[in-house]
Structures are given as structure tokens and as C-alpha cells.
């Protein structure tokens, strides 16, 4: 007879789910998952029951109905005969437009302020500190409202530009050779027009003018040639230590082809003229857009400045001293040594700021800029009464925009981050 030395294998017991560390975490996870799903199911069920009680259904067919309303600011062609889906697209493009311009301007402004805040000049440093503290500690909505108030209160109405027959003078005059007029509704600026047209490609989204396409192609070609030129100069510098003079060649390459295409197509600027109630002929940049853009930019730039400052301070002082020892001047040290290294610290929090700016752009409603919130979540929602559908769709779209920005920035981040091999 032999006695068993191993613990008897009694198979799996239910109590192991709680007392056995091998299973416990799994048990807890499944339990929590069930609770969350039950909560979600309850919410959905509750919604369906309430909708039922009100006799409402849940469908998105309203998107293909005629919208019937007009939109003040539109980057793609739209009339009130288009569908609600098209109106939504107009709003979406307005959202993207102000977000992209806002992110770009906030980055430039933020980097400048962040760098200047570290300046050795006492006054400059303190001024930038004041800027940062002022803008990041007051809600962005107020800044947007301040911007719109300044724009509407400080500028005359379009009819002030009319010549008064009694005095023979106008109440206000245009600037820059009678080409730009600031009014309390918009800023009228000249528009580009071509005498000869190459036609247009009609895409579903918008007709694309071949003239602008030609200009863009010329520009891209010039940039490519210029990069070849600079690369060639770099090679010469590395081989001989002397850098050939390239600046005038760069200028020629960058500007001459584009100008040539522009002139060949008969391009010219058309100044806006006051006709009836409003300026026509040029482009009217609405104050709502400018106020929203400026408010978002000024506010977000304060945060970006702090991120940039943190990134620069994260680089050890030895790097600066080494660069100085090599004879680099302060601004080249910053541009060539410090900022490239600081980027890996800067980019991840910068992503959040871009996302914030994009989401904050929904404050457009405060100034009457027709973004996604204004069209889909505003007028369409009201006119069709489809609250649930419109809000859900809007949430999905904002989610998609944010995830896209986040994804793109992560790709950029993986390119600039410190390569450890």
C-alpha cells in the first residue's frame, strides 16, 4: 500500500472562483462587465419605452428630406432645397475648417509664447506669463464673446460706407487701396477671379475649379524642386564645409511658376463693393467665424505655451551649453538642438489640446457660426424634432473626428519620439 503524497485532485469547485487567485480576477471582471451591460440595457430599454409612450419611432430617414432652411456660412454649395444630410455636411465642414485653422494658429502662437516665456528679458517673460494666466483661467466662451463684442461694437455697419448725398462723404472708408472693409457683420476682403477658366471637376462634395488645381500643382512642384535644391546644398556642405548660396534660387523656384500660372490664367483680385445692403464681389469673412477662431486660438495657445515651456525645460541644460560651446547662437540652439528634442515631450499633451479645441468649436452656437452643432444639432434637430437621432449622430461624428486627430497625431508622435535602439 502506498500513501498519496500529492494533494488529492478534487476537480474544479465553484468556490475557487472567489478564493482561488487564478480565477478571482476573471470572476470580478465578468461580474463588473455584467453590471455595466445591465446598466446599458436598462438605459436603452428605458429610452425605447419612453419613446414608445410618446409614440415616436427611431429612424434616420429625416436626413434625406429637404432641409428647407438657409445657412449663413457655407464652404460647399448648399441651398435650402438640399437635404438635411447635406446641411449636416455643411456644418461638419465648417467645424473642421475652424478647427484646423484654430489648431494651426494656436500652435504657432503657443510655441512663440512658450519660448518667449523663458526669455531672459524680464519684461517679455512677465508679459507672456500674464498672457498665459489671463487666457487659461477664464472660460473660452467668454473669450469668444469678448471677440464678437469687440468686432461688432468697434466697427461700423456696412451702410456707413455709403456716401451720404448731403455731405458727399461716407461715414467710414475702406483700407488697403479700397480693398478691405471692416463691418459689424463681416470683413469684406478681395476675392481671386480668373479671366480664363480651365473648367471644373464636379465631385459630389463640391465642384473643384481646375484653375486652383493648376495653381496647387505648380506650388507642389515648386516645393519638390526646392527640396531637391536644399538637399543638394546640404550634400555640398557636408562634402566641402561650404554652403552654397541658395536663398535667391529658392525664392525664384517657389514663386515664379505659381505667379506664371496665375498670370497665364488671367488671375486678378476683385475688390468688394457695397451694393444694396451688403458688400458683394469680394469674400465676406463673417465676424462669427473670426470671433470663434480668435477665441479658440487665444485660449488654446495659452495651454500650448505651457506645454512647450514644459517640453523645453525637460531638456537638460547641458544640451544648451554644448550647443553654445560649438558656437551656435541662441536662436539656432533653440531651433536645431532644443526644440527637436523637446517635441517628444510636447506632442502627447498637444494631442489633447487639439482635441479640446475641436470640441470647443461647438461653442460656435454662441456667436451664430453654423457648425455641426448649429446645423445638425440646432436647426435640423428643431425642425424635424428628432432629438435622439440628431444628438447620437452628432456624438458619433465628434467621436470620429477626435479619434482621427488622435490617430494622426500618434503617427506624428512615433516619428518624432526619441529613437531608442
Amino acid at each position: 500500500m502506498t500513501s498519496a503524497t500529492d494533494a488529492p485532485d478534487r476537480g474544479f469547485r465553484l468556490s475557487q472562483l472567489i478564493y482561488d487567485t487564478r480565477y478571482r480576477s476573471l470572476t470580478i471582471q465578468i461580474f463588473v462587465f455584467c453590471i455595466v451591460m445591465a446598466g446599458a440595457a436598462w438605459l436603452v430599454d428605458n429610452t425605447i419605452q419612453n419613446l414608445n409612450q410618446l409614440g415616436k419611432d427611431f429612424n434616420f430617414s429625416f436626413l434625406s428630406n429637404r432641409a428647407g432652411y438657409d445657412i449663413g456660412q457655407q464652404l460647399i454649395p448648399y441651398t435650402n432645397d438640399n437635404t438635411h444630410a447635406r446641411a449636416m455636411l455643411v456644418g461638419l465642414i465648417n467645424t473642421l475648417w475652424v478647427s484646423i485653422l484654430g489648431c494651426a494658429a494656436a500652435t504657432v502662437l503657443g510655441v512663440i509664447i512658450g519660448v518667449l516665456r523663458l526669455s531672459k528679458n524680464w519684461l517679455v517673460g512677465r508679459l507672456m506669463t500674464a498672457y498665459v494666466e489671463m487666457f487659461r483661467n477664464i472660460p473660452v466662451l467668454l473669450w469668444i464673446l469678448v471677440c464678437i463684442a469687440l468686432l461688432t461694437e468697434a466697427t461700423p455697419g456696412p451702410n456707413a460706407y455709403k456716401i451720404n448725398p448731403a455731405t458727399g462723404e461716407a461715414g467710414a472708408s475702406m483700407i488697403l487701396f479700397d480693398s478691405v472693409a471692416f463691418t459689424n457683420r463681416y470683413t469684406a476682403i478681395p476675392a481671386v477671379q480668373f479671366e480664363r477658366s480651365l473648367g471644373a471637376i464636379d465631385t459630389a462634395l463640391m465642384p473643384i475649379s481646375l484653375n486652383f488645381l493648376a495653381l496647387a500643382l505648380a506650388l507642389i512642384g515648386s516645393i519638390w524642386v526646392n527640396r531637391r535644391l536644399v538637399a543638394g546644398a546640404n550634400r555640398v556642405q557636408e562634402a566641402t564645409g561650404v554652403r552654397p548660396v541658395t536663398w535667391w534660387k529658392s525664392l525664384l523656384i517657389l514663386f515664379v511658376p505659381v505667379l506664371a500660372v496665375f498670370v497665364a490664367l488671367g488671375g486678378h483680385l476683385v475688390a468688394p463693393t457695397l451694393k444694396g445692403f451688403n458688400f458683394t464681389g469680394g469674400t465676406n469673412v463673417s465676424n462669427a467665424f473670426v470671433a470663434l477662431w480668435a477665441g479658440l486660438t487665444l485660449y488654446t495657445a495659452a495651454f500650448i505655451a505651457e506645454i512647450v515651456r514644459a517640453g523645453i525645460l525637460a531638456i537638460s541644460k547641458g544640451q544648451t551649453e554644448a550647443a553654445f560651446a560649438l558656437g551656435l547662437r541662441p536662436n539656432r540652439t533653440m531651433r536645431l538642438v532644443i526644440l527637436p528634442q523637446a517635441l517628444r515631450v510636447i506632442v502627447p499633451p498637444l494631442i489633447s489640446q487639439y482635441l479640446n479645441l475641436t470640441k470647443n468649436s461647438s461653442l460656435a452656437i454662441a456667436v451664430g457660426y453654423m457648425d455641426l452643432r448649429g446645423t445638425l444639432g440646432g436647426i435640423t434637430l428643431n425642425q424635424t424634432g428628432r432629438e435622439l437621432e440628431a444628438i447620437l449622430l452628432m456624438m458619433l461624428i465628434y467621436l470620429a473626428i477626435s479619434l482621427t486627430i488622435s490617430g494622426l497625431m500618434n503617427v506624428f508622435n512615433s516619428r518624432v519620439k526619441l529613437k531608442e535602439r
Partner: protein, 338 residues
Amino acid sequence: MKKSVFFGTLAGAALTAGIAGATTLEDVKARGELNCGVNTGLVGFAAPDANGNWSGFDVALCKAVAAAVLGDATKVKYVPTTGQTRFTALASGEIDMLARNSTWTFSRDTDLKLDFVGVNYYDGQGFMVRKESGVTSAKELDGASVCIQTGTTTELNLADYFKANNMSYQPITIDSNAEGEQQYLAGACDAYTTDASGLAATRAAFADPENHIILPEIISKEPLGPAVRHGDSEWADIVRWTLNALIAAEEYGVTSANIDELAKGTENPEINRLLGVEGDLGAMTGLDKDWAVRAIKAGGNYGEIFAATIGESTPIALARGLNAQWTQGGLLYAPPFR
């Protein structure tokens, strides 16, 4: 596949959801207060004074309903709603009735699941411009910037009108009448458009009403009336017949001054039925005999309310026009109390 599952769930829920809650009438009685959705501030129709007391043409209807149902015209909680929030507030149960110059349209009555119970003001959309602009007709507004309240029928009428007349315009969307007033006065728009009554009320609140004119064109039909939630017919009946009682009272010459006298009994059986002297019409709607007496006493009959809030002796100075009794060439026509 997902879709069919979803609609299956929907149908299933529809079968099981026999949870008809308390009726609106029971809710209001239990609460002892009527939640009435009104405009955020439109002088003459619904606006709070310096002490926070609401008054106006629409407010008077809230008071009449509260008096009929609760016996006290002051038991009203006024919920200010914008063009955007009004129907959601009603659908969600935040308010029991909406008396906020809202246009009765097909899709609102059907698709939005509201019930418009009548018309308390026959209106039409108009335009207001500054006198100095020299505009005398809406047809001259080509290229103008127009301020427009979002979420309203006027927004759609405006688009249709300019399209039909082959004119262009720049819409400036605003959220409330107060914002529209401010934008218009700041010169952000050349014209302000809303219901003609709203324009008159807005202009009356200006510092210089004489410098603004309302253009003669009326571009739409805007029957404004109180609305309730779809599906509670008992409550809809109460609001509908309270409004009708006010209109009928004017037709029969019942005023807040003589109502106590008339409520003792008259030669006219119609008045007797209305005031509960004869028969018991109140019981048919779940109220008591004197409901109409209290409703009329709250602010007077339709004509008295009109004269006191928006009539020609007030700064708003609206003529009765379409809103006169049918006997006087208007459209007001209360069905018989029988």
C-alpha cells in the same frame, strides 16, 4: 440584422409597456401647480415684470387654465422656453402645456406628437426694418442680412419667400427674441423677421419705436395656439375648452365685471350652460361646475385679455383684425357649449 433585432425589441417593448402613468390632470392636481411653458420674454405675450410676476396674452391663458383646474389663477409655474427648447420641454413632461406663440403646423401636430388645441392668435410673418434704410416693401430686401429665430417656422418661410421672389439674403440665426432685438439694434441685420405680433411687441420695447417700421407684406399664415402632449385627450379637452370658454364669453358678453351677476342665472341657456348654472359640463371634462367662471374671472374674457395685454390702448397697439369674433368679421369661432 441588427436593425430587425432592434425593431423586434421595439415591438416587444410596445406590447409590454402598458405603463400608462398618471394623467396630466391628476399630476397637476396632485402638484397643486400648473407648469406652463411661455416665451423667455416677449412684451405683451409673456414677460416678467421687475418683481418676477409674469403677465401677457399667453400668460393669461395659463392663468385661466390654472383657475379652471386648481381654482387659483396664481398657482402657475412659468417655465421660459426658447424656440429650440419648447417642444422638448413639453414632450419630456417638464411643462403641462405650452402657451408660447407657437405655430400650429401639420408636422408639429403629427410627427412631433403634440396636440394643438386651438388658436388664440391668428398671425402672419412680417419684417421690421429701420426707417432710415428707406425700405418700404419686403421685395426690396434683396441681399439683406436678416435676423431669424432658429427652430421656428419663420425660418423655413423666410427661405421659401426669398426663393419664390428670386432674392438672396444672409440669414443671421439667433436663439431668442431678446438676442434678436439686440442684434437688430446693433445693426448686425438689416431686417428682423418673426410673427407680425412679435415684431409689434418687440418694437414697443425699443427706446425709439418710431424709427422702425413693420413692412406691409405678411408672408405666411401663423396660427398661434396652445399645445399639449399627444395622447392625453382629457387634458387636451380641458385646455381647448378653457380657451373656447374665453372666446365664447366675449361673444355672449360675459365679462369679468358682470360674471358674478350672470352666474346667478340668465335668460340665455347658452350662458347658463357655460357658467354651470344649467347642466354640468364641467363634470364631463373631470372638473367642477364653476370651472369656466373661474377661468373667465382670472383675466376676463378673450376680448378683455386682448385689450389689456396687446390691444390698441397698449404700447404694442395691435388691432383685432383676424382675431375679432366671427360676428365682427374675424376668425374667432368657439364651438357651442352644449
